[in-house]
Amino acid sequence: MYGENYLLNVFVTPVGSPTWGACFLMCSKSSVADGVGGWRDYGVDPSQFSATLMRTCERLVKEGRFTPSSPVGILTSGYYELLQNKVPLLGSSTACIVVLDRRSHQLHTCNLGDSGFLVVRGGEVVHRSDEQQHYFNTPFQLSIAPPGAEGVVLSDSPEAADSASFDVQLGDIILTASDGLFDNMPDYMILQELKKLKSANYDSIQQTAQSIAKQAHELAYDPNYMSPFAQFACDNGLNVRGGKPDDITVLLSIVAEYTD
């Protein structure tokens, strides 16, 4: 993980607990999409919103106040709870939630914004989240704007998140990451790194995740490299090369048999 403003939490329920198995939550700060400046111009600390959203979703998951098959509910409830704060909480955040249902062997996902996940099986990407963008460099985001600025600040409803559910098999690799990874590393490079993953033990997974993040970090600062971000910019008429320095968070997991 590079950078500080990405928040990530992983929950794994103990075996024997009812329905679900694991839940990955990722809430990332994003700049206010008014095309002018950042949240600091409004006197708002940009990391506070995503941190509180994270904590709130975490609490919802811990207290079981969600339906595993519908992770968008976590997002909706989490956002609603943020509005219940007495002190106005301002800022914006993208979010990506992935829930593994141990019993039905399904992955339930929900993504709002430009973070995302990949499911890799047999060296190929079998499922991928879509980046949600309004226009170039303006991802979908949950936000609470200062009063009076509502028309200016982009604010998407939690229901605008992309939801998908699909089956998973033993051996599937699930990679959840912030936009810092996907902007700098195209899928084939990620797959190459993942091929190096030999065993399903904790250390090798940890190592692979770190090497992916490190590589993306290096590419981000390479001024000549044609990153996916640069490619996308060119497609939009902006003549740009190089990586996109950004905070990078990578979470890697493998669907495995439970062993004691």
């Binding site: 609490r59 919802l60 207290e63 106040r65 609603y80 709870e81 509005l83 219940q84 704060n85 007495k86 002190v87 106005p88 200062p146 009063p147 009076g148």
Partner: protein, 584 residues
């Protein structure tokens, strides 16, 4: 069995040791004690957090939320030992004396015992029943509100609940001022119980607090097996604490002693015979209900006085909620024919009162009823409300606060109570059709509380109806009425010109930019209380208009406003010449 034997053994030894020498006595006692240790199991102390919140009277947060709601009191603490205002705590709806000072508050009932201070309560279920040794409450902000802790003999998780349910007071005290708002662990010394419990009730009184009290968790410490020590303590029989409640409220007719030979020996009543009837009535009117019932059993003259329906024009059974049953109501029935104000709040739960008992009482005594308090009465059902609507045509005040298990259909009967002036429906499931129906027929409404009524779909329609039908409305509580917009507010301002109290807390759909607040205050010159809690859009010009148009303003809540310079607050303070301003 084992403990009885050991007690018997010990008593025998003690008797013997008394007759023997001192040395012998000591050795024999030591022998008994070591014998105890060898044969009896160690009594394990269990510590538990609350598993579930079963019931409560109010809370600050929204239904379906986990912010500032009572459900936060279950489970492990989220905040303690930090101090401050946190969403993860349990917070009640009110604090201080504000609410009681408003015109919308009910008049206090006479005969409230001095020891009854509770304003709110919460009931918690724990996993395992234990004999409590300690109850700890982790308070994280403005502590000091707890006034009573009680335990119940019923196990709320058991499949076959017993018929007799006992509540014992573990600890009780007057509300006291706590100097610091910082977090603390409150662990008063509690009474020993003779039964195991996993159902604890905490009652609070927040009137001395400067802000909301916030509670994080409750810990119940106890022993699974009955502690041996309790055998050595003889239970003190407290005259004032009759656990068999029915004795107090039972029919005293049977307890008249007759002289042994069957003849009545008329000794007269001494000086009481010389006092005028009205004077004895006046004296007796100062007694609490329990004393009144005890006095009834003393002699024929006082029985007559104490059963005189004139003593029962106001009746508050809320302090006796733990012991009220159908039978007690039945015994009181004969005396309550002139009843005008009845407080049954908090009573009747867990089967203590049923439809039969309640309707029998109401049918016998409800004819002149003017005020009926039924807050947190979960025994209420649709037929109960039907009985009320048929039997109490003169009813002016009805409080159904927190009767959240009452079926929405039940509220349709309220529209038959056309003389209603005060109606409290806080946290009920009333639906829009029933509400509109009530507003159509109850045109004398002066005080209406629709706080947290989540089942009403469109508050603009309700506001519109209020404007047309409820022109004498003095106070309106629309706390957390989420879909009220400037349209509804405008109609309200136009139609209910006599409004003195308006609570628009957490009504997030009201935007100051629409000018709705300015329009509102220009049209309501009598405003004394205005709550705009958590409305982020309130701005300077709103406050200016408020200061200019509402000279009577006393209570203002603008908590959570996004931006309001201090200069305006000072301006407000001086332009409204008021004795008390609470601006948060």
């Amino acid at each position: 069995m084992l403990t009885l034997l050991s007690m018997f053994y010990y008593i025998c030894l003690r008797r013997r040791s008394r007759s023997g020498t001192r040395g012998e006595a000591l050795t024999s006692r030591r022998a008994v004690e070591s014998g105890h240790r060898a044969t009896l199991p160690i009594n394990v102390e269990v510590e538990q957090y609350a598993k579930e919140v079963l019931d409560f009277s109010s809370h600050y947060g929204s239904e379906n939320s986990m912010s500032y709601t009572m459900w936060n009191l279950a489970g492990m603490p989220n905040v303690y030992p930090s101090s401050g205002d946190f969403t993860q705590t349990a917070v009640f709806r009110a604090y201080g004396t504000w609410w009681e000072q408003c015109a919308s508050a009910p008049l206090p009932f006479r005969r409230t015992p001095k020891a009854f201070h509770s304003q709110d309560y919460i009931e918690l279920a724990f996993e395992e029943p234990v004999y409590p040794t300690a109850v700890e409450v982790l308070e994280t902000y403005h502590p000091g509100a707890i006034v009573q802790i009680m335990a119940c003999s019923l196990n709320p998780f058991s499949q076959n609940p017993p018929t007799d349910v006992r509540w014992e007071v573990l600890w009780a005290e007057e509300p006291t001022k706590v100097l610091t708002p910082q977090a603390r662990q409150f662990s008063p010394s509690i009474k020993q119980l003779s039964f195991p419990t996993n159902l604890i009730r905490v009652e609070v009184n927040s009137s001395l607090l400067k802000y909301y009290t916030e509670l994080d968790a409750v810990v119940l410490r106890g022993q699974k097996d009955r502690p041996i020590l309790s055998l050595y303590k003889m239970p003190r029989i407290d005259i004032c604490d009759l656990s068999d409640s029915d004795e107090e409220l039972s029919d005293p007719g049977a307890s008249f002693g007759q002289a042994g030979d069957g003849k009545h020996i008329n000794l007269g009543n001494g000086y009481f015979d010389k006092l005028p009837y009205e004077l004895i009535q006046l004296i007796v009117s100062h007694l609490t209900l329990s004393d009144l019932c005890r006095l009834t059993q003393t002699c024929k003259l006082l029985h007559q006085h104490c059963c005189d329906p004139l003593q029962y024009i106001q009746l508050s059974l809320q302090p006796y909620w733990a012991r009220l049953s159908d039978t007690s109501l039945g015994h009181l029935q004969g005396r309550c024919t002139l009843l005008q104000r009845l407080n049954l709040s908090w009573t009747g739960n867990r089967g203590a009162l049923t439809l039969t008992g309640f309707s029998s009482f109401v049918k016998a005594c409800g004819g002149s009823l003017v005020c009926l308090e039924l807050s947190c009465c979960h025994f209420l059902s649709e037929p109960c409300l039907e009985v009320i609507s048929q039997t109490c045509p003169r009813l002016q005040e009805l409080n159904l606060s927190s009767c959240d298990r009452l079926h929405p259909q039940a509220f349709t009967h309220i529209s038959k109570l056309t003389r209603l002036r005060r109606l409290v429906l806080y946290r009920t499931k009333i639906e829009q059709t029933a509400m509109l129906s009530i507003l159509t027929f109850c045109i004398e409404l002066r005080h209406l509380n629709l706080g947290s009524c989540v089942m009403i779909e469109d508050y603009d329609v309700v506001a519109s109806m209020l404007a047309v039908r409820s022109c004498s409305l003095r106070s309106l509580d629309l706390w957390r009425c989420r879909n009220l917009t400037e349209r509804g507010l405008a109609e309200l301002a136009a139609g209910c010109r006599l409004l003195e109290e308006l609570d628009l807390g957490w009504c997030s759909t009201l935007q100051s930019s629409s000018g709705c607040f300015q329009h509102l205050v220009r049209n309501l010159p009598c405003l004394r209380k205005l709550f705009l809690t958590a409305n982020r859009t309130v701005c300077d010009s709103d406050i200016e208009e408020l200061a200019a148009n509402c000279p009577a303003l006393q209570h203002l809540d603008i908590l959570g406003v996004y931006y309001l310079p201090l200069s305006f607050l000072i301006y407000l303070y001086f332009s409204l010449s008021i004795t008390q301003v609470y601006i948060r």
